[in-house]
Amino acid sequence: MENEKLCELIAQISNGDDEAFAKLYEELSKFVYAVSLNILRDSFLAEDCVHDTFLHIKNSASRFENGRNVKSWVYAIARNVALTMYKVQKRSVPLDDEIIATFSDDDFSEKSDTAVLIRKLIFELEQKDREILLMHINEGMKFREISDVLGIPLGTVLWRYNYILSKLKKKINF
């Protein structure tokens, strides 16, 4: 869906339009789930994160600046919610690193050996590197948008993206 149409949906949601909210959810829920899963690495927590993200979208739709990139805005909300959740979980339950890092392969569509290997390598990356990679490749976000959402300089984003790809290529070809 184009950004213009998404902006319209946000405007309608701010007027209390539940149908618009349902459409937005249909359009972006998988995207938000992917963002959440990337950070939380647990499908149950990721679902909670989706729940809270869309609740936040509903409550703050009136504050959305028309013309802004909706996906970047939603990404930023989802990311903040996921990071908060991660910190809270870590504080209340001493989480074993292994528990944090595991998720079911059922969470992903492709199960070939190559896919599993690539997924493993990607989730071994540092969180910010992983975010840069997935935001650009999976979500089609421009580097400038990624720089805005993550709060890191554009040059750093570009450099890191190229570095990560080279690193992955080496590991896969090895």
């Binding site: 499908s43 729940h51 809270d52 809270v88 999976n138």
Partner: protein, 200 residues
């Protein structure tokens, strides 16, 4: 594997399956409340966000207070430990006496033109070798304290905090009696320097 193939593989490998999407949507519609683990914490942080600058200010005050106490309090603590009850006053006849009691623990300074407690008088020339001098403040090494009076002259007061084995017998005797009175003259800077130089 070239870059474009790699990117394609990444996209395919990380394509997620959102199994319970419908359930989550239902939950959003039914429960207009965020999950406790998430928003309550962020709301708490927002509510208490004002405390951060307050905490910074209080910490700064605490650190400055501690620093002031150490700098100034240390001075007083030192004097309190040594029980210096009065600072030397302006010399009239040039004589001051200091009585040391219970070696290394207390010293009192009084303006007194005569000796007290039956201890000996010492003129500056009797200051023995091996004693240390400090300039203008009390020294924990003990031996000498040098003060300037308001007339600009120097006088030297000895203490008996530590006994130098080479101290003259008269001092040893006094120290063994745990009581010493040292009377000093007000010295000119040159005289004071001469005495101090002879000590080092």
């Amino acid at each position: 594997m070239n870059r474009s193939v790699l990117k394609e593989n990444i996209k395919v490998s990380t394509d997620v399956v959102f199994k319970n999407s419908d359930k989550v949507f239902e939950s959003i519609i039914k429960n207009n409340v965020p999950t406790v683990s998430c928003y309550n914490e962020s709301q708490k942080r927002k509510n208490f966000a004002f405390m951060r600058p307050v905490a910074v200010v209080l910490s700064a005050i605490f650190v400055v207070g501690i620093g002031w106490t150490v700098l100034n309090g240390g001075f007083f603590i030192r004097y309190a430990k040594n029980d210096m009850t009065a600072m030397p006053e302006t010399a009239e006849n040039g004589f001051y006496s200091m009585t040391a009691e219970d070696s290394a623990l207390s010293i009192s300074i009084e303006k007194d033109g005569s000796t007290t407690n039956g201890t000996s008088e010492f003129t500056p020339s009797y200051i023995p070798e091996g004693y240390l001098a400090t300039d203008g403040e009390y020294s924990n090494d003990g031996y000498l304290v040098k003060y300037t009076n308001t007339n600009g002259g120097y006088f030297i007061i000895t203490t008996n905090f530590h006994v130098n084995n080479e101290v003259e017998s008269s001092f040893s005797k006094i120290i063994n009696e745990t009581e010493v009175t040292i009377v000093t003259n007000v010295l000119s800077r040159e005289e004071a320097k001469k005495i101090l130089d002879s000590i080092y």
